[in-house]
């Protein structure tokens, strides 16, 4: 199938009106970076407050800070970036000329931006921004406890951003299922595309529960009688967590895919156990839709045994995926690039998050640790020390494809090590604080508790993370200003996106190589090596000629 691009009539409108999936994804990433910096600033304020044991902000301001920090990072940074990576690379990896439903994808971008602006505009209202945590904890989020329009703006903002994400996911899903190039069967799709398929399925069929929950919450705030009493709170939480736990995996699977691609490329090996990985992904993604009520163990009204069973069962597919990663690295010809280091960091640190998740999956242990800093540490080990490391790995890996320029490796490694030190300094002490009984969401703690030392360590760590992010931004600026051309495939990668120019043209490919496996470029290289081995005289003659 050939493709014809209609030239744009108004180049000035290109960025905000472009239906090119690469531009939409690029815009989303830039906007997400702005929100990441804003959300990070809120985190630094919170850490300053806790290091000083109060005195920096009031409890009400602190409530707004942690609500908007969590909301920003989940709804406006990690999920959008995960989906934006799919928007950019899934069409390229399956050999499609464009994304399915380009206008729908553009609509998703607008909804995401408007949702973010809406959420943050709460800071400019007289009552301040939302302060009922990132899950809008009912009844705390009802009009009696959270009066003012800040909470309403939060509800609308989250609804809009989530709707935008559902639209993106639908486009990616349709592209992976219906726009694959000839020869690209389901079982020849790259790992990243498979993980996006799982992610987008969860998004399309799980996220509407959040929109419903927020609609009910808005109705309760303004009309009343919708989420009444204890049953109303349970219903809201059930609906919310049906979104709220799958979203953890929406923030995880895409980075598993990225890490898989990175490990295979920099180990110079075909990914080990491809089929087992796909089966594990199916089991994993289905299971992750049925673990949500482990966030509600202490309610004691849902079937704790069932949710403990499914939550613990997650270790089986996770174990298979880890085994595949390690087996791919085993005896590979490793190249310790920045992207590979971030991938290794993801594997190690996500393991800490995952293993502490098993502790929280046990109701008797969860009763003791619920709402403590142990949960905060676990969550941040999965989302920041885990997924964000996968994301940085993905950025260092794909930046040359997106921009045509290489990122600086030396700055990248500095970025990596600072982030390792910062992330572990920040989040590891929180396990001890939680075990000692420090509850989350408090702006002050008793001086006699002995928690200040560990809080100071965690706060120092958060500033190290901030320095690391500054190094990353400096790396991007320097690399774009003093460009070192990347070429089409600077890494010797395996998948189709590396078969086109860097950056790719509007219609993605001029020509596609034959697709006979999930690593078509590796197939080509192996065939060339085989040919050279079988015909040394021809090759030598060819070289001398």
């Amino acid at each position: 199938m050939s493709t014809v691009a209609i030239p744009s009539r108004a180049p000035a409108l290109r960025t905000l009106a472009s239906t090119d999936h690469k531009r939409i994804a690029g815009s989303a990433c830039v906007i997400a970076l702005v929100f990441f910096l804003a959300g990070g600033l809120l985190a630094l304020l919170m850490r300053s407050q806790l290091a000083a044991d109060g005195g920096v902000v009031t409890q009400q301001t602190y409530n707004e800070l942690f609500t908007m920090h969590g909301s920003t990072m989940v709804y406006l940074v990690i999920v959008p970036v995960a989906l934006a990576a799919g928007l950019y690379f899934v069409p390229l990896q399956v050999g499609a000329a464009e994304i399915a439903g380009p206008r729908v994808a553009l609509a998703g971008l607008w909804l995401y931006v408007l949702g973010g602006v809406c959420m943050w505009s709460g800071f400019f209202t007289s009552g301040g921004a939302a302060s009922a945590s990132w899950w809008g904890f009912d009844p705390l989020s009802e009009s009696i406890h959270s009066p003012g329009s800040g909470m309403d703006l939060w509800i609308f903002g989250v609804m809009l951003a989530t709707l935008g994400q559902i639209l993106w996911a639908a486009c990616i899903l349709a592209t992976a299922l219906r726009r694959r190039a000839p020869g690209m069967t389901l079982m020849r799709m790259p790992m990243f595309t498979w993980t996006m398929l799982a992610t987008c399925t969860m998004t399309v069929f799980g996220f509407p529960a959040l929109i419903l929950a927020l609609g009910l919450l808005w109705a309760q705030r303004h009309l009343g009688g919708v989420l009444t009493g204890g049953a109303g709170a349970v219903d809201y939480q059930a609906l919310f967590w049906f979104y709220g736990h799958p979203v953890v995996y929406v923030m995880f699977f895409p980075f598993v895919g990225m890490v898989g691609e990175i490990i295979a490329t920099f180990s110079a090996r075909r990914f080990f156990g491809y089929s087992a990985f796909i089966v594990a992904l199916l089991i994993f993604s289905g299971l992750s839709m049925t673990v949500w009520a482990h966030h509600m163990f202490t309610f004691g009204v849902l079937s704790n045994k069932y949710f403990a069973l499914t939550s613990t069962a997650l270790v089986v597919p996770a174990g298979i995926e880890y085994f595949d990663f390690l087996a791919t690295i085993w005896q590979g010809q490793l190249r310790f690039t920045t992207a590979f280091l971030f991938a290794l960091g993801f594997l190690v640190q996500f393991l800490i998050g995952g293993l502490t998740g098993i502790i929280l999956a046990s109701p008797p242990l969860d009763y003791g640790l619920n709402m403590s800093y142990f949960v905060v540490a676990h969550f941040h080990y999965t989302i920041f020390a885990g997924s964000a490391f996968g994301l940085f790995g993905g950025i260092y890996y794909w930046f040359p494809k997106i921009t045509g320029a290489m990122l600086r490796e030396r700055l990248g490694k500095l970025n990596f090590w600072l982030m390792v030190v910062g992330a572990n300094l920040t989040f590891f002490p929180m396990f001890f604080l939680g075990a000692e009984g420090m509850v989350r969401r408090v702006a002050r703690y008793p001086a006699s508790s002995g928690w200040q030392g560990l809080n100071i360590v965690a706060s120092v760590g958060s500033f190290v993370i901030a320095v690391s992010v500054l190094v990353f931004i400096a790396n991007i600026v320097i690399s774009l200003r003093r460009r070192r051309p990347a070429g089409d495939d600077p890494w010797g990668a395996h998948t189709l996106e590396w078969a086109t120019s860097s950056p790719p043209p509007r219609h993605n490919f001029v020509a596609l190589p034959p697709i006979r496996s999930y690593a078509p470029l590796l197939d080509l290289r192996e065939a060339a090596e085989q040919h050279a081995a079988n015909h040394p005289s021809i090759t030598a003659a060819g070289v001398s000629a």
């Binding site: 399925t201 349970v234 993604s285 499914t310």
Partner: protein
């Protein structure tokens, strides 16, 4: 492409099976309802995709790639304003509705232009 529905069907059935498994644990109705609806929606989508793909032939004609759509942005701003209007007053709903109508008109215009281009190409 004819096997594309397999993923949705497998995923939906797996979720349905896990949902049904709750029966052994004295569940509340909401525990069944939420994942049950998601599972049913996924299976239905899979069946719809399977039915659509059954008789579908690969389209060998060239495909037009639309480069930009300012109307989409206008429509989405309209939707967002109308939604905000439900909390801030009828006036905002009306502004949102107006912008939405403008955006919809723009999308219709874009689609008609696309159709014209396709017809011109086919007659050439």
């Amino acid at each position: 492409m004819k096997r594309a529905a397999i993923w949705l069907l497998a995923w939906g059935l797996w979720l349905g099976l896990l949902t049904a498994l709750q029966a052994a644990f004295a569940p509340k109705a909401i525990q069944f309802a939420i994942p049950g609806v998601a599972s049913a929606a996924c299976i239905t989508s899979g069946l719809a995709l399977w039915a659509a793909d059954r008789n579908r032939e690969r389209d060998e004609r060239s495909r037009l790639i639309t480069d930009s759509s300012s109307a989409t942005g206008t429509l989405m701003v309209g939707v967002a304003l109308a939604l905000l209007g439900s909390g801030f007053g009828l006036w905002l709903i009306l502004i949102g509705a107006g912008m939405g109508a403008l955006g919809l008109g723009g999308i219709v215009r874009e689609q008609r232009a696309r159709g014209r281009t396709l017809r011109e190409r086919d007659t050439r």
